[in-house]
Symmetry: C2
Amino acid sequence: MTPSTVPELVDALLAGNRRALARVISHIENNTDLARPLLAALYPRAGRAHIIGVTGSPGTGKSTLVNVLAGVYRQRDLTVGVIAIDPTSPFSGGALLGDRVRMRDLAGDPGVFIRSMATRGSLGGLAQATADVIMVLDAAGFDRIIIETVGVGQSEVEIASAAYTTVVVEAPGLGDEVQAIKAGVLEIADIFAVNKADREGVDRTVMALKMMLSLGAPEKFQVMHHGRMLPVEIPQARTESHAWTPPIIKTIAVSGEGAVELADAIENHRLYLEQSGGRVLRDRLRAATELRMILRDYLLEKLLARTPEDVLKQTIDAVARREIDPYTAVQQLVDQVRNC
Amino acid sequence: MTPSTVPELVDALLAGNRRALARVISHIENNTDLARPLLAALYPRAGRAHIIGVTGSPGTGKSTLVNVLAGVYRQRDLTVGVIAIDPTSPFSGGALLGDRVRMRDLAGDPGVFIRSMATRGSLGGLAQATADVIMVLDAAGFDRIIIETVGVGQSEVEIASAAYTTVVVEAPGLGDEVQAIKAGVLEIADIFAVNKADREGVDRTVMALKMMLSLGAPEKFQVMHHGRMLPVEIPQARTESHAWTPPIIKTIAVSGEGAVELADAIENHRLYLEQSGGRVLRDRLRAATELRMILRDYLLEKLLARTPEDVLKQTIDAVARREIDPYTAVQQLVDQVRNC
């Protein structure tokens, strides 16, 4: 019998049924009627996993690195969930291909679960969907959850706020722009992996990172708090004496070299977060970010549902023809709907 | 006398005063009290410029390409505004450094205005700020506005929705992940530039792009419409007979080779959009996207302003401790505030 109701799906998922897990994720991705009740039922069961973000430019080989990192965890008898945020389109099938390539190494191991999620044009949707899928894998009992993202854009910073430990992957000789990008990721990096460490220029890359680190990056929390964020209480245990300096780990993902050291660095950071109160703080930041995202979309949906379609169309056309600016148009729209 | 009131700033900006322009942009970036009235006053004056998005992976040399493209426009007596969305941090000074490097070639030319904007951790803020700055440059009379973004993440798709013509820059030999990324950008690309065309492997890159194009990309509009977008009327003139196939232009930015051909391709696309009704359609999509972003933030701000800080803090803590899931928490918060 295939589980299909909310209690059946939840029970099967908690019992380790992988098909139920895949089904629950599909409900969430497709935002079906079961999505909300499933999330509400599973949310209290999550909170045990260590969540690791792995990010970096294209060509750094981070997919391969995630693969060998998962292998190290399996050797340590830890279960692993992998979420790959792929810039390939849901239409192109690229995400599926990515899964298949990964599966070669980890196929058939019930201790590993891999899921690709495609970036979509919709605003704000991906970060929240990712947060929900992380929570489901967490509730399903995976010990380590790895989220792999490409690039260092705004959405990556949002997704990084879901991770306890963020690994930024660099590689030697990726062109002149890479230098500039490093500065942006300093603020989210807990650990640096310099991959393809057998390549020429690896020492220059390590030196450049060390130099930037010595200049001092602002606290991760500042970045997350930028803009109109919600109020978050800082736990008392967090003091200056608990500062963390991101280690720089050289890796060669294709041969597996450095993967154990990388896993060790992640475990060190996990322990550091627990002892310093950093985990509690990141939980609060994650909660604040999620609440903000969900609240924003909830309010928008409510208002749009109450707005007649012809009023919306007329407003869009007036803004497109520049008869009214969008800020004034928004105010008029809200007033109009309120008086209905 | 330095212009400082809204009418003074608007008059000076429209008269071509570059200091007034810089001041207006600062007001918008810092969201001062003058930001809204300035945007409302300038919005009806915009709508003349052709807006060009230039995007691609790090290491493709797109900054240099933007530089030479601006040079070609200047030779044609067109004024150019450049907005660089840099993944470098506002703290690190990377954005400023980028400006200085660019300025070497175009320095002292009043027909060129360059502005870097840093990606920030705040949610949704950058895309809207970019749209506002584009509008201000448009109102200030720049003929061509180039927005340069890195990568192909979600935020880049949002920013691309502000452009009429999107140029995707590729380069030979950037690693195995690049192939996958191309699939994602197919949907936003109006023109491909294969830069560093003197490098080995350029023909392979061109062939790969041609193959992907022959598979057929979904319409750009589909991507923009993905998710809960607002209703947009499709203009009648837009029919299947007006299909556009993205041309592939080989360029060598450091020597300027191919820049004229790239500028010509952009002009062709501009004319195509005008004749096919595509410009009107993109104006409506842009208006819909902007309205959605502004409305969402407006509603969130209003609700947060009415929520007592201790209620917010308690809600965040309850979600962080997993006593309640964030979706249920949002519903409770909205009900609570409504009953106040």
